[in-house]
C-alpha cells in the first residue's frame, strides 16, 4: 500500500519540480511566479466559461492520451497523434461535405465515425510497418505527422478550399462552414462546453475496459509484457501490434473530428503548421498520458490539468505579457522530469517492499521501464 502511494507520488513530485522550473522562468522573464500562478488559475477556472474552455482544451488530450496509454501497454510508442488528428479531421470534414443534409442524430455519429476511421488508417500504417517490416514506429509515426501537415495544407488550399475564399480572392486556407447538422451540441448554454467532452471521457473509459476487462486488452498487454511468451501462448503478436497502433490512431482521429465540429468556426483551417490546427494536442496528449501513469482512466484528470495549463497560459499572456508558449516549454519539462523519475520510483518502491528492484513481475504494472528498446 505504502509502495503504491509512493509510486503515484513520484511522478506528481516530478511534475511539481518541472513547474518549479517554470516559476524560475517567470522570475527570469520579470514576472512574479505568484501572479503567474494566479493568472493561470484564473484563466483556467475563473468563470464557468473558462472552466468550459479548459474542458474543451482537455478533450483531445484525453483521447490522444488514452490512445498513447493503450499503445504503450503493447510496447509501442505512438508519437503520431498530430497526424492522426489531422487524418480524422479531414475524413470527418469530407463526410460532412458529402452528406450535409442528414439530420443531426445521424450526421454527428457519422462524422465522429469518419474521424475515427481516418485516425485508424493513419495508425494502422505504422502498425503494419512495425509488425511486418520491423520499421521503428517512433520514426514512422513522426514522418506521418510531417506528411499529414502538408497533405492538409494541400487540401485546404486546393480541393477543399471554401469556394467563397476563391470568389473573394482572399484564399484563406480553410474549408467552407460545414453543415450545422454536424455541430456537436452545446451542453451548457453560454459556454463552449460541447458533447465532445463527454465522448472523450466515455472513450477513455471504454479504452480502460477494453484494456483490462476484455480478451483484446489481455492480448495487447501480453504482447507488451513479453512478445515471446505471448507468441508461445498462441497470440498473434504482429496482428496485435497493428491493433495497438490502429486503436491508438482511432482515438486521435476521433479527437480530430471533435476539434472540427466542436469549434466555433465549424470548419478546418490551417496556418501551415500542424499545431495551428491541432493545438499540438498530439504532443500534449503524450504529456497527459505520462502524467496519468499511462492509464486511460488517470489520463482523464491528467488531461484536465494540462488543459487548464494551456487555457490558463492565454490569461498569462493577457495579464502579464508572458507568451503562452511558456505552457509548451513547461509541458516538455514535465515529460522530461516524469520520465526521468520512473527508475527512481521503482528504486524507492523496491526499498519499501524490501525486494530486489527490476524484478520481472513488477514490470507489467510499471510500463515506463518496459517500453520498446529499454533493457529487459
Amino acid at each position: 500500500m505504502l509502495s503504491k502511494i509512493v509510486g503515484s507520488a513520484v511522478p506528481v513530485l516530478a511534475a511539481l519540480a518541472a513547474f518549479l522550473v517554470g516559476a524560475v522562468m517567470l522570475l527570469v522573464l520579470g514576472a512574479s511566479p505568484l501572479d503567474g500562478l494566479k493568472a493561470i488559475l484564473d484563466g483556467a477556472f475563473g468563470s464557468g466559461e473558462r472552466l468550459a474552455a479548459t474542458a474543451v482544451k482537455a478533450t483531445p488530450l484525453i483521447l490522444v492520451g488514452a490512445g498513447i496509454s493503450i499503445a504503450f501497454r503493447a510496447r509501442v510508442i505512438n508519437i503520431g497523434g498530430e497526424g492522426q488528428i489531422i487524418a480524422g479531421a479531414l475524413l470527418a470534414t469530407v463526410v460532412a461535405l458529402a452528406l450535409p443534409d442528414l439530420p443531426s442524430v445521424v450526421l454527428i455519429p457519422l462524422v465522429l465515425m469518419g474521424g475515427a476511421i481516418g485516425g485508424t488508417i493513419l495508425g494502422a500504417i505504422p502498425g503494419v510497418l512495425k509488425a511486418y517490416a520491423s520499421v521503428n514506429e517512433i520514426l514512422s509515426t513522426i514522418m506521418l505527422n510531417l506528411v499529414m501537415v502538408q497533405f492538409m495544407n494541400f487540401l485546404l488550399r486546393g480541393p477543399l478550399i471554401d469556394p467563397l475564399e476563391i470568389a473573394a480572392g482572399t484564399r484563406i486556407p480553410q474549408t467552407q462552414r460545414l453543415s450545422d447538422n454536424a455541430a456537436l451540441p452545446t451542453l451548457v448554454e453560454g459556454t463552449r462546453l460541447h458533447l465532445g467532452v463527454v465522448v472523450a471521457v466515455v472513450a477513455a473509459v471504454i479504452a480502460y475496459i477494453v484494456l483490462w476487462r476484455m480478451p483484446l486488452g489481455f492480448r495487447l498487454r501480453a504482447v507488451g509484457h513479453s512478445p515471446e511468451a505471448a507468441r508461445a501462448a498462441g497470440i498473434n503478436v504482429e496482428r496485435n501490434i497493428t491493433y495497438a497502433l490502429a486503436i491508438s490512431g482511432m482515438l486521435g482521429g476521433l479527437a480530430g473530428a471533435i476539434l472540427v465540429f466542436g469549434s466555433e468556426g465549424q470548419r478546418m483551417i490551417t496556418d501551415g503548421s500542424a499545431a495551428g490546427f491541432t493545438g499540438a494536442a498530439g504532443f500534449n496528449g503524450i504529456v497527459a498520458a505520462l502524467f496519468g501513469g499511462l492509464h486511460p482512466l488517470w489520463t482523464i484528470p491528467s488531461a484536465f490539468l494540462f488543459g487548464a495549463l494551456l487555457t490558463g497560459a492565454t490569461q498569462l499572456q493577457r495579464v502579464l505579457q508572458i507568451p503562452a508558449a511558456l505552457a509548451v516549454a513547461l509541458n516538455g519539462l514535465v515529460v522530461i522530469f516524469v520520465i526521468s523519475s520512473a527508475r527512481f520510483r521503482s528504486y524507492i518502491q523496491s526499498i519499501i517492499e524490501k525486494r530486489p528492484s527490476n524484478r520481472a513481475s513488477e514490470d507489467l504494472e510499471r510500463p515506463y521501464s518496459k517500453i520498446p528498446g529499454v533493457d529487459t
Binding site: M25, L29, I77, I79, L129, A133, S134, V135, N136, I138, L139, S140, I142, M143, L144, N145, L146, V147, Q150, F151, N153, F154, R157, G158, S273, A275, A280, F283, I286, V287, L290, I322, P323, A325, L326, A327, V328, A329, L330, N331, G332, L333, V334, V335, I336, I339, S340, S341, A342, R343, F344, N358, Y368, S369, I371, P372, G373, V374, D375
Partner: protein, 309 residues
C-alpha cells in the same frame, strides 16, 4: 518541363541542394556519433530550434556572425549536458525523453522569441566563400565551391567523423560502448563517460545545424525547423549508421528540396501542388525505412541504458 533541364537550372538546383543539405548533414552526423554510443537522441529538433534562436538573437544584437555561431554551439553543448544527465544519471527512456526535449525546445525558443524579439527582423546571413581556383571551374565550381562556411564545415566533418569513429581510440570506445557496453566496461572503458562525450558531440552538432539553418535563412520564426531534426534522426537509420551514407542521404534530401523549390519558382508545378511535393522528404524516409529496416542492424545497445550487473 523542358526549361528545367537546362545546364544553368541544373547547376542552380545542385548548388542549392548542397546548401539545403547542410543542416541535415550536421545534425545527422552528430546523431550518428550519439547512436553509435548507444544513445538515441530524438530531441535534436528542439535543440536545433534553441540554438537557432540563440544564434539569431546574438547576431541581431551584436551583428557579429562569429558570436552567433558560438552562442548556438554553446546552447547545443548545454542541452547535451542536460540530455546526458537525463539518459545516463536518470536512465530515462530515450524515445520519450527526446520528445520532451523537442517539446521544450519548441516552446522555449518560441517563448524567448516572442518575449525578446516579437516581430521577426532579418539578420545578416553567412557570406559566400568562393574557394580559389576550384570555384572557377565550369559547372562544378558554381555548384560545389561557392557556399557559406558552415556548408564546407559540414562536408569536412564527414571524413573527420569517419576517421574519428574508425581510427581514434575514443571513437572505437564509442562503438564498443554502443555494441556491447558490458564487455567495454569489463575492459576498463567508462561507459558513462564515453556516452556523455558522444551525447555532447551530437547535441553540439545539432546546435550547429540549427545555426546553419537560421543564418542561411537570415530570419527566425517559431518552429523554424518544421521537423528537419526528426528527418535527420531518420537519416541515421537511412544511412545505416555510416557517415558517408548519412551524407548521401542528406544530399538526397537537399536535392529533393531544391528541386521542389525550383519547380515551384518556375511554375512548372501549380502552387497548390507544392504542398504535395513538400511531402516528399517524409514519404521518402518512410519508404527508405521499409526497405532498410530488415537489412541493416544498428548498434546492439541502442536505446538501452547501461546498468552494471
Amino acid at each position: 518541363m523542358s526549361d528545367f533541364f537546362t545546364l544553368t537550372v541544373l547547376v542552380a538546383v545542385v548548388g542549392s541542394g548542397v546548401r539545403l543539405a547542410t543542416p541535415y548533414l550536421l545534425a545527422g552526423l552528430g546523431e550518428t556519433v550519439g547512436q553509435k554510443s548507444g544513445v538515441l537522441n530524438l530531441g535534436i529538433d528542439g535543440v536545433m530550434q534553441l540554438s537557432a534562436f540563440s544564434a539569431y538573437f546574438v547576431v541581431l544584437k551584436t551583428d557579429n556572425l562569429m558570436l552567433g555561431v558560438l552562442a548556438g554551439l554553446a546552447v547545443g553543448a548545454v542541452m547535451g549536458v542536460f540530455y546526458g544527465v537525463i539518459t545516463i544519471v536518470f536512465k530515462a527512456t530515450q524515445g520519450i525523453s527526446g520528445i520532451g526535449i523537442f517539446i521544450f525546445g519548441l516552446g522555449f525558443s518560441d517563448l524567448l522569441f516572442q518575449r525578446l524579439v516579437g516581430t521577426p527582423k532579418p539578420i545578416r546571413q553567412l557570406p559566400t566563400i568562393e574557394i580559389p581556383f576550384l570555384s572557377e571551374l565550369p559547372v562544378v565550381g558554381e555548384a560545389l565551391f561557392q557556399h557559406n562556411p558552415l556548408t564546407y564545415v559540414a562536408f569536412i566533418l564527414v571524413p573527420v567523423t569517419i576517421l574519428f569513429l574508425g581510427k581514434t581510440t575514443f571513437g572505437l570506445n564509442i562503438r564498443a560502448v554502443g555494441e556491447n557496453p558490458h564487455a567495454a566496461d569489463s575492459l576498463g572503458v567508462s561507459v558513462e563517460r564515453t556516452r556523455y562525450v558522444a551525447i555532447l558531440i551530437g547535441n553540439t552538432m545539432a546546435g550547429l545545424a540549427g545555426v546553419a539553418l537560421v543564418l542561411e535563412l537570415g530570419i527566425f520564426q517559431p518552429n523554424l525547423t518544421q521537423g528537419l531534426g526528426f528527418i535527420a534522426v531518420a537519416l541515421v537509420y537511412f544511412g545505416s549508421w555510416r557517415p558517408s551514407h548519412v551524407m548521401a542521404g542528406a544530399l538526397l534530401y537537399g536535392l529533393v528540396n531544391a528541386t521542389v523549390l525550383q519547380l515551384k519558382a518556375r511554375n512548372i508545378i501549380p502552387l497548390s501542388f507544392s504542398e504535395l511535393a513538400a511531402m516528399a522528404p517524409a514519404v521518402l524516409t518512410i519508404v527508405a525505412l521499409v526497405i532498410l529496416a530488415q537489412r541493416v542492424k544498428g548498434p546492439a545497445a541502442l536505446t538501452k541504458p547501461f546498468i552494471r550487473h
